[in-house]
């Protein structure tokens, strides 16, 4: 009896203890949510709801669970994480994400926006650069948010609190959860900091709170590495700002695009920018002694240079020079007055004499970058070709792409940049993105493509010995005029990094073929890259010639014929195009790339069944191909197969939410199917995203006033210091 009583008392005591613990946990949770409610109410009372009370974070796309402001203290400090993750913390502290807000390079341009239009517009920028400030309601006039978190920018618990992604719209298109480093036994997230020993007892529950499978996908990076300038920001229209994600998706590394010129292994953004490496400092997140890099090495040398983060700077420079990202090929020489190219240079014998006027064709290939050169904010970054011709004593015969004494780049250098302009045709300096209305030119090289840069120079009449020609691609983060805007003119020289280069030494007189260097492409690829460059420069005849040289060297190369086909199709020589694509399909009948271009030719010839079959095959092989989905949608639409057309365009819109063709066709299809609201929505999106036909006038105004740039805007331009005169018969420069 006594034993039963004791047992009953024991059970009752346990039950009371469990109940108390339950009440305490509920209370703690209630305390947390009450704290947030009180905080949010305080912010709301004075917040500037310029864009609507239901859109507190517009023009940014970020949102947070609970749909309300959240106190900054809800985000554990990075130093809290550093207790167990010393390596990750050490890397992150030197990397761009932690410094995303505080750097003067960012503050200069966002301050202009704040002082010009108002702090509420900076929610667009800070949604990615300082999301804690945005979600805490700090971006409002007379904010009463303690901004001590600013120095941490994208702190650990911003990325590691993202619960889901909002398609691939960009502009911080993610849903942040209430930060949590631990879930309970039932998988429910526990807000705030948790004692370290609790985490160590349940590391699986820690992982569940701070890791999601999609963190390892490019779509996660796309939340911020894709940006647009929406109408609420610029009072104009939707403009694409940049999209490293879309560029990756169309690169060979995504395996989602059948139309790439070359193929490669599947590689995500993280695969290049978060490579695993041995950890020097203790880190519980390391596996087998390696940690996925939290340095996110890329091109930014300016931030580590400014902050004195020497290790980050050194590793950034190593990264830029590694991996054969670019190929520089001094592909050919041509003597003035001759149509004949000496090409591929180094593979054929040739002779040059003193006083020869020579043209050098330099092909720069974006070989292994998963996005464009230069990606993202290319109006501020500077990559260019430095081309030198020197005599045997090292004296310059010709030099393009030098840095002037004031630190500015030679205006006539070939630069992989763009020029955004405003509605007055003026260059938009200082990253005042809300004023951009057009882009006067854009010399970036997309992933997998090549560009041809032409130089003309004269061998001196009294030259003796050899002549050395060198082409380098240099990179500087940022361009000098932007650094001057940030600091004034008295600042140290910022690093210039040579990414890739090639030098050839020419004998005056006879030159024999030489062995290729380690990074040289094989000759067939050299011709192929020339062909790609000429195609992009609308030099169709020369492009076809180059692609034919590829086929001579590789008669089994289906893509060689496909390249001729797409070139001649663009040239509107459809008979030749058809003949070439048939040859490609004879070599490789199931080749998706060839089938795609074949389909377009079939459409032109009115062979609808063949067109449909080809595109269906492409979509089957590459279900995430934008181009294939788009064209198949058009094919179905033309056949009045509206349900099938709708399916294609809806799928296309999932792949690319900003595809203008999808908006256009969906607006028509929805209307035909009686879905008026959806039709109106797509129509509105089409109107804001479609090209502004007035935009080229702004570009032309700019180019008229800047002849040194207008030369660069012509795809087939020549870099020369030779003066040319027009002959009396009007044949033009020779």
């Amino acid at each position: 009896m006594k034993t039963i009583l004791m047992r009953l008392i024991f059970v009752a005591a346990v039950a009371v203890a469990v109940f108390c613990a339950f009440v305490v946990s509920i209370q703690a949770g209630s305390d947390e949510s009450m704290e947030r409610k009180e905080y949010a109410a305080k912010v709301r009372a004075k917040y500037n709801f310029h864009f609507g009370t239901d859109k507190p974070f517009i023009p940014g796309s970020i949102s947070v669970e609970g749909d309300d402001f959240i106190q900054p203290g809800a985000f554990p400090d990075a130093k809290y994480c550093a207790h167990c993750h010393q390596e990750a913390y050490s890397q992150w502290r030197q990397a761009l994400h932690s410094n995303a807000f505080r750097t003067p390079f960012y503050r200069t341009s966002v301050n202009i926006l704040i002082n010009t239009k108002g702090i509420e517009f900076a929610r667009h920028c800070d949604s990615c650069h300082n999301p804690v400030a945005v979600l805490a309601g700090g971006l409002t006039q007379n904010s009463q948010v303690d901004r001590k978190f600013d120095q941490d920018g994208l702190t650990c618990m911003t990325c590691h609190s993202v619960q889901s992604l909002k398609s691939t719209d960009g502009n911080a298109g993610a849903v942040m959860g209430v930060p949590s480093v631990m879930v309970d036994e039932d998988g429910k997230r526990i807000p705030g900091e948790v004692p370290y020993n609790e985490i160590l007892k349940h590391t699986d529950r820690h992982s569940q709170a701070v890791m999601k499978g999609f963190y390892r996908t490019p779509e996660f990076c796309a939340a911020c590495h894709k940006a647009n300038l929406p109408n609420p920001l610029n009072d104009y229209k939707f403009l694409r700002a940049f999209t490293a994600f879309d560029e990756w998706q169309t690169s060979k590394f995504s395996k989602r695009n059948p139309l790439t010129f070359y193929s490669g292994d599947f590689t995500t953004c993280q695969g290049c920018h978060m490579k695993r490496a041995p950890n020097a400092l203790p880190d519980y997140g390391a596996k087998n002694g390696t940690l996925a890099s939290h340095r996110w090495l890329a091109g930014n040398t300016a931030v580590p240079f400014y902050y004195g983060f020497d290790e980050q700077l050194q590793k950034t420079i190593e990264f830029l020079r590694s991996n054969n990202y670019l190929n520089v090929d001094i592909f050919a020489l041509r003597k003035a007055g001759s149509e004949q190219m000496i090409a591929p240079l180094g593979s054929v014998p040739f002779a040059i004499e003193p006083n020869n006027l020579l043209e050098a064709l330099v092909v720069i290939q974006n070989k292994n970058i998963g996005h464009s050169l230069i990606p993202e904010v290319r109006d501020l970054y500077e990559a260019w070709v430095e081309f030198t011709v020197k005599d045997a004593q090292g004296k310059d015969i010709y030099h393009s792409g030098f840095i002037k004494p004031d630190g500015m780049l030679d205006e006539r250098a070939h630069s992989f940049t763009n020029r955004p302009v405003n509605e007055n045709g003026e260059f938009v300096d200082n990253h005042k993105v809300w004023t951009i209305h057009s882009v006067a030119y854009d010399n970036s090289v997309q992933a997998g493509r090549s560009t041809l840069v032409r130089y003309e120079f004269r061998i001196p009449a009294d030259v003796k010995g050899t002549v050395t020609i060198t082409a380098k691609v240099n990179y500087r983060h940022f361009r000098q005029s932007y650094l001057n805007n940030v600091f004034g003119k008295d600042h140290p020289d910022y690093p210039v990094v040579e990414i890739a280069s090639r030098t050839r030494t020419l004998n005056i007189g006879e030159n024999q073929p030489v062995a290729p260097e380690q990074n040289d492409n094989p000759d067939w690829m050299r011709w192929n890259n020339l062909g790609i460059s000429l195609l992009d420069q609308v030099q169709y005849a020369d492009a076809v010639y180059a692609f034919n040289e590829v086929i001579k060297l590789r008669p089994d190369y289906a893509d060689g014929y496909t390249n001729i086909s797409l070139t001649t199709a663009e040239w509107e020589k459809y008979g030749s195009a058809r003949a070439s694509i048939q040859k490609a399909l004879q070599i490789d009948p199931n080749n998706a790339r060839a089938l795609y271009y074949a389909a377009l030719l079939e459409r032109r010839a009115g062979n609808t069944d063949a067109e449909l079959a080809d595109l269906q095959s492409v979509v089957q092989q590459y279900p995430e191909s934008r181009d294939a989905r788009r064209e198949l949608g058009i094919s179905y639409y033309r056949l009045h197969h509206y349900d099938e057309a709708l399916q294609q365009f809806e799928t296309l819109q999932k792949i690319d939410p900003d595809d203008v063709t999808a908006h256009y066709n969906l607006s028509i299809l929805y209307k035909r199917m009686g879905m008026a609201d959806k039709a109106a929505e797509q129509q509105a999106l089409f109107i804001t995203k479609k090209f502004d036909p007035g935009a080229p006038t702004y570009s032309l105004d700019f180019l008229r006033q800047h002849p040194e740039i207008s030369n660069e805007s012509i795809p087939w331009h020549m870099h020369t210091d030779q003066s040319h005169s027009v002959t009396s018969n009007g044949q033009g420069a020779q």
Partner: protein
């Protein structure tokens, strides 16, 4: 009649302080951040200087100590000439700071009864001085190293706002 006008005048006179009360904000730092640095609520006064500069003075409202955070901003025409004059305000050895403004130094600014740390720096043609002082020297949040760190952090905020 006169009595009525007198009543109106008194009434208007009472309203004047309300009509004349202007927004009192520091352009480079908000009160919440200053309060965080001084570990308690603050009052703010903002005044202009003869050289078209501005001084923001945040004063801690804790009764146990006098703490303050002062931000001075001065436009200068000749940086090479003007900046050393401001640097001469240091009352102790200076430490060159990296990555605050174009350039910045840290030094003491205290006296026998008040300990203070300051950062003197520059963003383009504007000189800034950030000084945090406290009589509460034995409190952990106001020890010398803590004061130095707070001053650096605030200086970084101010420089960022000036860029």
């Amino acid at each position: 009649m006169i009595r009525r006008w007198l009543q109106y005048a008194v009434f208007l006179g009472l309203l004047l302080p309300l009509a004349g009360r202007a927004e009192n904000n520091c352009p480079w730092l908000n009160e919440a951040t200053a309060a965080g640095a001084l570990s308690g609520p603050v009052t703010l006064t903002v005044q202009s200087t003869a050289d078209e500069g501005t001084i923001c003075l945040f004063q801690g409202m804790q009764t146990a100590a006098n703490s303050s955070l002062q931000i001075e901003i001065h436009p200068v025409k000749d940086v090479a000439q003007a900046f050393p004059v401001y640097k001469a305000r240091c009352s102790s050895q200076t430490t060159v700071l990296r990555a605050i403004g174009n350039e910045a130094i840290q030094c003491g600014a205290g006296t026998k009864s008040v300990q203070a740390e300051q950062v003197i720096g520059r963003v383009r043609e504007k000189v800034f001085l950030v000084t945090i002082s406290s009589t509460l020297e034995h409190h952990s949040t106001m020890k010398k190293e803590a004061l130095q760190e707070k001053t650096r952090n605030i200086a970084e905020q101010v420089a960022g706002a000036l860029f």
